[in-house]
């Protein structure tokens, strides 16, 4: 356990950026791809939200994600809220699919009512760490929540404040890609291996890691390693409180580490946290991303 809060159960899925598609199905059964703005709101840590469209009362509405490859889903967090005090919202089921192409077709298997979900975004930064539900669904390509809205008013919308998924890409899927590995270059970093735990104001710490080219046949060209902010930021920004280095001495906001041959591991890189005296108290999230310009 890192600091005062439990470790995340697995790798958080950056479905707003990893090729996945988020969809919404209103009461008429027609799937709609959600905008990048709405997807970012659902996969960030703030109380901002993606708003569903008006839908008929008392009908099933779905919101979910289709992944570009098979994944093992191991955890999720959901916060959804009614937008009218004259209505109430229930999440009747979490469902998974391994063949849907648009969120509505294919076979969807209900896992029953969610183990937990939040209906109030107050204190969300704590809830996203404390109330992650466990699940074990291997080799799926889609997950969705089944919502049911009742209302005596006219506002038939509701809000998705946060929808997070945890898990990994299934073995053998999407083989031509990068991963962040430990400093020895022997295994992928765990989902919580870049959890700083409790970070004191006016303190600093380092974590070493490497970049692994998983491909057996393709070279990863012109790799950039950078720190991405969460869409919900603070001042000074959380991402800005981190630096990267490939020599452990000189640091910058990003690194260009060149090419990695098939199966190769980079030199040891260092992530440095510098939490200033005026850092805002609380729980924060950022992420490190390694991006090849191409795979050839």
């Amino acid at each position: 356990m890192a600091g005062l809060y439990p470790d995340v159960p697995s790798h958080r899925m950056p479905y707003h950026a990893d090729g996945s598609v988020a969809f919404r199905i209103n009461g008429d059964g027609t799937p709609t791809e959600m905008s990048a703005v709405d997807v970012a709101k659902m996969n960030d840590e703030g109380a901002d939200y993606a708003e569903t469209q008006n839908s008929l009362l008392g009908v099933n509405v779905y919101v979910g994600v289709l992944f570009p490859e098979k994944r093992n889903l191991l955890g999720y967090f959901l916060c959804a809220k009614r937008l009218s005090t004259s209505s109430f919202l229930i999440v009747s089921a979490i469902e998974v699919s391994s063949d849907s192409t648009n969120g509505a077709d294919g076979t969807w298997t209900s896992l029953g009512a969610p183990e937990s979900w939040e209906d109030d975004p107050a204190g969300l930064s704590l809830k996203i760490r404390e109330n992650i539900a466990s699940v074990s669904q291997l080799g799926i390509t889609g997950v969705r929540f089944n919502f049911y809205l009742y209302s005596s008013g006219t506002n038939y919308k509701f809000a998705i404040n946060a929808m997070h998924f945890y898990g990994v890409i299934a073995s053998g899927e999407n083989p031509n890609r990068l991963e962040l590995w430990d400093s020895a270059g022997t295994a992928r970093l765990g989902g919580a291996d870049m959890d700083w735990g409790n970070a004191a104001r006016g303190s600093s710490d380092d974590i070493e890691f490497t970049v692994k080219n998983l491909s057996a046949t393709q070279t990863a060209n012109d790799i950039t390693v950078a720190i991405e902010a969460s869409p919900t930021e603070t001042t000074p920004p959380v991402a800005g409180q981190h630096l990267l280095s490939d020599d452990g001495v000189n640091f910058a906001s990003y690194l260009e580490i060149g090419n990695l041959a098939p199966g190769a591991v980079s030199s040891v890189l260092t992530l440095r946290r510098i939490t200033p005296d005026n850092a805002v108290l609380g729980l924060w999230v950022a992420k490190v991303v390694a991006t090849p310009d191409s795979m050839t």
Binding site: A2, G3, H11, R12, N174, G240, L243
Partner: protein, 181 residues
């Protein structure tokens, strides 16, 4: 009541519609189903069926989330990042850079020590400074550039003198603070 000699008989009659009588003509009904005129075409048709799914692409990128369980006001672990210059002779001044030392040297009883003959000897220090973040403190141009002594983010530095007891090829230094507990 009185009887009368009259006799009554009801008469019943069915008044039909008069006809025009028989005619010599002959009638035959003609039945017809008028269809739409079709023209056989020489074209060939094949229906195309399509299920338009969402476009998804495989990403080669690697992501790793970083978490801060909580930013707190608590005792920080002190760190030394680098010294500048990296080497010197006894009585030379060396600037030591790092973070987590406290607002003043007295906040956490800051002490720098040098390892000489298996003992950690306290070094005399001067010029303890907390340097505030610069213009590019936390933006995309933030950096620690040792060669040019540029640190855009908040940090601390202190000047030490290499003691006369220092020996070739050199000695390690470390930082020690006390949380006052």
């Amino acid at each position: 009541m009185t009887s009368v000699p009259d006799a009554y008989q009801y008469i019943y009659e069915n008044v039909g519609i008069p006809t025009n009588g028989t005619v010599p003509g002959s009638y035959q009904y003609v039945y017809e189903n008028v269809g739409i005129h079709v023209i056989p075409a020489s074209l060939s048709y094949q229906y195309i069926y399509e299920n338009v799914g969402f476009g998804v692409y495989l990403s080669p990128n690697a992501y790793q989330y970083t978490y801060e369980s909580e930013v707190l006001d608590e005792f920080p672990n002190p760190k030394i990042w680098f010294t500048r210059p990296g080497a010197g002779k006894p009585r030379d001044g060396i600037m030591v850079y790092g973070f987590g030392w406290g607002a003043t040297a007295g906040t956490y009883d800051f002490e720098l020590q040098m390892e000489i003959e298996d003992d950690w000897i306290p070094l005399s220090i001067s010029g303890f400074q907390v340097v505030a973040a610069g213009v590019n403190g936390y933006d995309e141009n933030r950096k620690i550039d040792v060669g040019n002594a540029i640190i855009t983010m908040q940090h601390q530095r202190v000047l030490i003198l290499i003691p006369n007891e220092a020996v070739i090829p050199g000695s390690r230094i470390r930082v020690k603070t006390d949380d006052g507990a």
